[in-house]
């Protein structure tokens, strides 16, 4: 039996969650305040995921870059490959919040979307 102590990143509360494991299986989860904490703990000990936020280049916009995010969580090991893919992209202004910038980034099934409007110059 083993114990893993995690800090929940689900919200700013940052609960300390203890996960008890037995033979690679979760026996119990404690310390979380809400359901989100349990979900976080479950994935964090098996297949951790994160939301990625970054920017991509914009051509012809009032800003040279537009902020973007993965529309959902992607596997933690996918963060840098995702960044690499975003590095190659240039979008053309205007860009609107919610516009899909990359579909199914790095085969994660998750899209990257714009989080800001960038108007044309």
């Amino acid at each position: 039996m083993s114990e893993k102590v995690l800090t929940c990143i689900g919200c700013p509360l940052g609960c300390t969650i203890t996960v008890t494991m037995h033979d690679g299986k979760i026996e119990s989860i404690s310390g979380n305040t809400c359901k989100r904490g349990e979900v976080y703990a479950r994935t964090e000990v098996t297949a951790p995921v994160r939301t990625v936020t970054s920017t991509v280049k914009v051509a012809g916009g009032i800003l040279p870059v537009v902020s973007v995010k993965t529309a959902g969580d992607i596997p933690k090991e996918g963060i840098f490959p995702c960044m690499e893919e975003l590095r190659k992209i240039t979008v053309t202004a205007p860009v609107n919040t919610g516009d899909v910038i990359v579909e199914n980034v790095c085969d994660t099934g998750v899209s990257v979307i714009a989080t800001k409007n960038v108007e044309e110059t």
């Binding site: 990143i9 919200c11 700013p12 940052g14 920017t55 870059v65 995010k69 919040t97 800001k116």
Partner: protein, 416 residues
Amino acid sequence: MKKELVIIGGGPAGLAAAVAAYDAGLRDILILERDERLGGILNQCIHNGFGLHTFREELTGPEYAGRFIKQVEERKISYKLQTMVLELSHDRIITAMNREDGVFQIEAESVVLAMGCRERSRGALNIPGYRPAGIYSAGTAQRLVNMEGLMPGKEVVILGSGDIGLIMARRMTLEGAKVKVVAELMPYSGGLKRNIVQCLQDYDIPLKLSHTVVDIQGKERVEGVTLAKVDEKGKPVPGTEEFYTCDTLLLSVGLLPENELSKKAGIKLNAVTGGPIVDQRLATSMEGVFACGNVLHVHDLVDFVSQEAMLAGKSAAMYVQMQTKDYDQPIALLAGEGVRYTVPAYLVTEEMEEPVTVRFRVTGIKKNCKIVVYQGDVQLLSKKRPVVAPGEMESVLLKKEMLHTKEAIRICVEEG
């Protein structure tokens, strides 16, 4: 020009105040924003984690700002961008300037101060060493990276583990920089726990608590910094120096409410927060002037800024609609044992129809404690907290029916 309400600052506080004032019936509202767009500092906070309280979902900074900008646009509330307020006079005459109008004055019936805060600079810390290029406050670096697409450096040391410092550690790493270490003067981090996990631990960036920068090397561009351990008084311990080569030093060493306008106007400020002293309506010592957001006291969550700002907007609207009344002696709210300050600082009981959220910060980390509110010797309420920390704002809710005297109210952190 005359306006019923002028809001100084178009960041999250100003936007929420404008929306709330509109919804409370005001129409003659003007927002003055010094930057090129509405949204304030949120425009450069491209990470997520905003809005869980307000919108029940996790948004990035620009998205969060976008929601409020949309509400402002829908209500057709007017605003002026790239407009700097130069002065607020005792009789609420605002002098401002921009490219289109030049210098102009507005007679405002009411004013909401929502100017936000600024970052403490190296100078305020007296960090010795050279003064080369490559020393940035974390927010400046954030703007360069996230808004301008420019990299301020490739090898980075960060002083201060406030949230902006932690967020920038991750951001710089994602953009290909090597963040060597984050040093924190205090024995605990000033940032949110989740940011320690997802910004430092995820990327194996070491966090050195009780450490500070004791020297900066490099005559032209930063070439390295020396860290040293500090004792309980925050003084560097000789012999603990460690040199880190780097081309960039980011400082995330605290935020200061930007109250130069308020000071010049003669508005009374709280020495602890650096923000105006307000009652529960967020009315300052100057009639018809209200304050909210980081200009009032530095928040850690924008959701609370929005809540507070809505109250300020609503209060301004009520002020315009009803003008002043003669109030009885207000009740003072005091920071007791273990508490640094409270906002508001006093209660005008005649205006306490709704429960009052009193926000405050504690003086140090305490585990298994309780927050207790007294009026004189009477305990008004007590709430258990597994842990409290200076980095995270606390609050209690006070209701009119709890109060039976005019005695001062004290908020304390106690054992147990």
